[in-house]
Amino acid sequence: MSEALVRTVDLKRQYKRGKFPVPALNGVNLTVGKGEILGIIGPSGSGKTTLLNLIGGLDRPTKGTVYVDGVELDKLSDAELTDYRLRKVGFVFQFYNLIPTLNSVENVELPMAFAKVPAAEQRERALNLLEAVGLEARADHMPDELSGGEQQRVAVARALANHPSVVLADEPTGDLDSKSAKKLMEVMKSLRKEEHATFILVTHDPIVVAECNRVCAVRDGKITRESRIGEDGKILDSSRFVMDALF
């Protein structure tokens, strides 16, 4: 594994439900290397999304720390955390979450607009990214004119707009058919090389797991097991791993 990009130390997160604290994460130690595609699997309510939100700076831990690219997120103010999300993180959601009133290229430009990148530069970068995800012909299409798989590829392009260190995807193929899911994973793999991006993917999908470099299983707020990697760098017996992790 290459140098660590993301490191969590004894990460805990509790939610209050009425009077009772409900643990969502219960001491997670995780290291993600630069350029990795890491899969996180686990049953519903196991704390996967919470882990993603903590790494992405959307939420703050009850205890423990997250380091990303040498920065301790806990030390950042709310405004700094927003800037961290803008420049260091890219988010991909299960239901794409494109802005419905903006077309593909404008959706990709949006994070750059927030980062006050000059307009011409925004357009150039956005069109390049759309080309990289195979949607250059759909640049002026509105989200509701695109298929789910196409929307998700636009979302991936948007996530990469500001050259983030890490892309966090929460069930990116959860709403896609297997053909679209495979296409999406191909796109991510090629972008990982072109953009030197690191991906952390929360998933249930064996298609996704098969394309990861490494997979962690989360259960009851803890990492319970890690996948074995074969000599070719591929995960050994990914379907079996998913089955064991989920059931």
């Binding site: 939100n53 959307l58 927003t82 988010f91 959601f93 903006l102 430009e109 927030f114």
Partner: protein, 418 residues
């Protein structure tokens, strides 16, 4: 992608809702503009009306002259002549000796801002065909504009020197009619020939004031030997609300005092102000309803777009950027509403007089034409700007709370929202 262009996209995305929300502001702005114009029109009409009904608003006299008040013909003091046997002549002599002011003051007062007209009068005593009479020397071209004291019932107004108007009692006593020649002079024996050109009705049939006549100011000055002097200047303001300001301006001139028909002037001002306030309150209520429409739409929009807001925050939009996006939407709603509202308000203001014309004439006749039956709004640039500004401001103001709510959403919660 500026927040403004995103706002435009969102408003166009839901055209029907935007149109309905905008129309709330349109109604408010149009109403404010029409009502402000009506208020302006009514206040113009009211002051015109009051100028007709009320005597002069200000009477300027020598500051050493005993107090004079009201419409220019009511004395505060007791009549020295009354009760002293056969004192008519004595009273007139006293009256005629009243302190004078320089005639040139008429011009300087007329040039003061807010002055509608200033008309001089020289009150003196004289003899008509040997009988003792009050003589008022006036400037016929301005007199009737400045006071309503004189109502000619037969004949016509003064048009040149050597003419006299007599009140009906005097004319009857002297046995003269319109066209008769009379001798007018400072004493019972001498004088010049004057032509009686008109007869006027007089308020009092008895007492010394009943015997009076009007002649040209220069004639009166000749008879009394007071060249270039007057005893009173009657002043009217263009607007009743300006009366007190003009009066204090006149008071600052040395040697004269401005007596204000104060109660009338101030109640006219109060009436006019009350109507304006009333109209503005109605308009503001309409605009307030529009504002609630904007708040409602914005809150609904934010509720629907919770996940979008969560997404924006997740991909790095600051609270300020989210706030700006929603404020821009509210501002645009207000701006469009203000533009359309002002246009509709202008159209309605122009259409109102002809729409209300028929009902007006019958109402006006019954009240001697004094009461404005026809609605005639007056569009002023001030009111145009005011209603436009109010509309745009209401949009922003109504957007503040929803935009604030949007910017404070917890992104994690918002993203979980279905």
């Amino acid at each position: 992608m500026s927040s403004m262009s995103i706002a435009i996209r969102n408003l166009r995305h839901r055209k029907m809702r935007t149109a309905l929300t905008v129309s709330g502001i349109v109604v408010g702005v149009a109403m404010i503009l029409v009502l402000l114009s009506l208020a302006a029109g009514t206040s113009t009409q009211t002051s015109g009306l009051l100028r007709n009904v009320v005597g002069s608003e200000i009477t300027v006299v020598n500051s050493t002259t005993p107090s004079f008040s009201g419409g220019g013909f009511v004395f505060n003091g007791t009549f020295p002549g009354r009760g002293s046997g056969g004192g008519g002549g004595g009273f007139v002599t006293t009256f005629g000796a009243g302190n004078t002011i320089n005639e040139t003051l008429v011009n300087s007062i007329e040039n003061m801002s807010g002055v509608f007209v200033a008309s001089p009068q020289l009150s003196t005593s004289g003899y008509v065909d040997g009988g003792n009479v009050f003589l008022y020397g006036i400037d016929p071209s301005t007199y009737s504009q400045a006071t309503s004291d004189l109502t000619i019932t037969q004949g016509s107004d003064l048009s040149s020197n050597g003419q006299i108007l007599l009140n009906s009692v005097t004319a009857t006593n002297l046995g003269v009619t319109v066209g008769s020649q009379v001798t007018v002079g400072a004493n019972s024996t001498g004088g010049a020939k004057y032509t009686v050109v008109g007869i006027y009705s007089s308020g009092s049939t008895f007492g010394p004031l009943a015997r009076s006549g009007y002649i040209e100011l220069s004639d009166a000055q000749n008879i009394s030997g007071r060249e270039g002097l007057v005893t009173e200047i009657y002043v009217k303001a263009t607007d009743p609300s300006l009366v007190s300001q003009i009066a204090s301006g006149i008071d600052s001139i040395s040697g004269v005092t401005a007596n204000v028909a104060s109660t009338i002037a101030s109640s006219a001002t109060t009436l006019s102000n009350t109507m304006t306030t009333f109209f503005i309150v109605i308009g503001l209520v309409a605009l307030l309803a529009g504002a609630f429409g904007v708040i409602n739409t914005m809150m609904m929009s934010i509720g629907e777009r919770t996940r979008e807001i969560g997404t924006l925050r997740a991909i790095g939009a600051t609270k300020g950027q989210v706030m700006k996006m929603f404020l821009s939407e509210a501002f645009l709603i207000g701006l469009i509403g203000a533009i359309v509202g002002v246009l509709i308000g202008i159209v309605v203001s122009f259409a109102l007089p002809s729409l209300t014309g028929a009902a007006a004439s019958s109402g006006a006749r019954g009240l001697g034409g004094f009461i404005p039956g026809r609605l005639s709004p007056t569009l002023t640039s001030y009111n145009l700007v005011l209603s436009f500004a109010l509309g745009s401001l209401v949009g922003i103001a109504a957007g503040v709370y929803p935009a604030f709510r949007a910017s404070r959403m917890d992104p994690v919660e918002a993203l979980r929202h279905v």
